[in-house]
Symmetry: C2
Subunit: 357 residues, 2 copies
């Protein structure tokens, strides 16, 4: 059994600890703390004795709250507690889905660059990987139409690029799923971080979509392990059985905190990240071949030389980045996270300008 190649991320983490006053632009989680009302909800749940097992599928109160969220925020009218499973984070959701759906040699289509867990976990189940670049147009999917594709997966907005797929792109993926019989998995863990438009869930128009929603990135509760899967009741039933055999249920207190999280106004946090997104783009656009990120809190851009060389040169300026090759089949990109303080970001832009010259 081989590990996921997250070594460059671990290495970045260790570097950041070893350097005095580093400019750390490698972090894949929000820089702000978990909002105080959620922390309070955790305490309240603990004091109210919510420490026992919950139902395998999750507490009904959270499923109801998520149903309301899907209907009002995502225009998914068919959302219903029976079509929902509460899991221990998106990774746990992916594990349940891939374990239940993927057989050895199944072909699976991933939009590239991709969240590094997708290919790592799919390979673990023996899947064969197909990729399509995130800049694809509908006609680019023609070549996949005669294939027997088991599932199509993408994160939208994207980790690592910040790309928000257009409605046309999403529809093209849904059409491909429909014509090939593939499961369409839309990982929307960064949905609130869509800076230029109201985020659009493809599940709103394509009912067979398997929609993943995570709490980790939005509310800085990655360690609390909470996500939900919205899918057909048949898929949910199979996944719930599988969850019985693994973690039994998502952490009880975290589930109660999730209800409070959904009530949290994140507008000011998102506005801060929007300004940081703009600042990074304006700072770098004349120095790098860079596209304006639309969401999440990442830029993914081309550098001179290999990604690993660039990362090394950056470290000499105390700047920590992640090489792009772990997210795509190229050694010429780096991932930058702007989930950090203004001061750090300003220092980072200066260092990157120096590195470009």
């Amino acid at each position: 059994m081989n590990g996921i190649d997250s070594s460059p991320i671990r290495k970045a983490f260790e570097l950041a600890r070893s350097i005095e006053d580093p400019i750390n632009l490698s972090i894949g989680q929000p820089h702000f703390p978990c909002p105080a009302n959620i922390v309070e909800a955790i305490c309240k749940a603990a004091k109210d004795g919510k420490t026992a097992y919950t139902l395998t599928g999750g507490i009904p109160e959270l499923k109801e709250a998520m149903t309301e969220k899907y209907k009002s925020q995502n225009q998914i009218g068919y959302a219903h507690p029976d079509r929902m499973l509460v899991t221990s984070g998106i990774s746990s959701a992916l594990f349940l889905l891939f374990n239940a759906l993927v057989n050895p040699d199944d072909e699976c289509l991933i939009v590239s660059p991709y969240f590094l867990m997708y290919p790592a976990m799919l390979k673990f189940y023996g899947a064969k990987l197909l990729t399509v670049d995130e800049s694809f147009q509908a006609k680019d999917l023609e070549s996949f139409k005669n294939k027997k594709i088991k599932l199509i997966i993408f994160s939208n907005p994207s980790n690592p690029t910040g790309k928000v797929l257009s409605k046309d792109q999403l529809r093209a993926l849904a059409n491909l799923a429909e014509s090939t019989g593939a499961y369409l998995i839309s990982d929307e863990i960064y949905e609130l971080f869509d800076y230029d438009q109201a985020f659009y869930s493809i599940g709103a128009e394509y009912e067979k979509t398997i929609t993943l929603t995570g709490f980790s990135k939005t509310y800085n509760m990655t360690g609390l392990r909470l996500a939900t899967i919205l899918a057909s009741s048949e898929v949910i039933k199979a996944l719930t059985t599988l969850q019985q055999y693994t973690v039994v249920c998502a952490p009880s207190i975290t589930q109660w905190a999730g209800i409070e999280a959904l009530k949290t106004d994140m507008t000011s946090y998102i506005q801060d990240y929007r300004e940081k997104r703009d600042f990074v783009y304006e700072s770098l656009k004349n120095h790098y071949e860079i596209a304006k990120s639309g969401g999440a809190f990442y830029f993914f851009f081309r550098v001179n030389g290999t990604d690993e060389d660039f990362v090394k040169r950056a470290v000499e300026k105390k700047l920590i980045l992640v090489p792009g090759y772990i997210f795509t089949e190229s050694h010429n990109y780096i991932r930058l996270s702007f989930a950090t303080e203004w001061d750090t970001l300003r220092r980072g832009m200066l260092a990157l300008k120096e590195l470009a010259s």
Copy 2:
């Protein structure tokens, strides 16, 4: 994919909700709340911002505390953080172990009666099950010596019987593991509930033992999902990789709470259960063929007629029990839990005396 046959437990749960003032002796978790110092530790961890991912294998502070516990309480001198993995509860630990170790058609030996997840999960991985009754003597294991056994698993003290295996029995299992090359898995989630002696971990003398320790039952934190695996560093390394592909890490706040849990003096709780154990035994010994439970919080005893008939007759007296067939290959036993208030227990004994006549 078929579910675990926990339907009688679910049924008991639903019955208890539908009956006014039920005598519920079916519950598989402590009746007391999670101790206040642990609740406080949860709040403190939340307020201290411990909401982010931890290392996959668990926070070093908890591994250190568990190392101390194994050394001082279990006489396991070789305990070390590198030989430990923090998991999302015992079920998650079993999943990791069975997924990593068991291949289809592997023969696995279970001490019977057994925790119902063992056969359910092992069958899920295609294992062939062998059983030996918990009353076995060393010579009864002779017949397994020429078999190719992949693993041996038992809970000690036992759910569902409360049996505490003797040192001779544990040594015989260790000898069988050594001679067949089987992994020996000792599930010690009820270790604190050993009423008549200092609990003995077979890991203290057989270093190849895989020792499972859970926090759920001892501190009533079943919903918080926390357990640890102590094994060779090779096994731990493989399981840690697998954990990366599933839940990523045990819930962060729960891990911090676990450190506080280890400092909690549970003596008065255990003494209360010891008295309840004695009370049940004294009440029933002249009415049923019953052995004195040594640990956990269960009695498992023979009834007239089938278990399911007996459970139905009990319900007419508002008494909720679990039929034994889900824990063993017999339809003549029921499981009684004494994890409840004195008043409920007294009413239960009266009902059981009436049912015996």
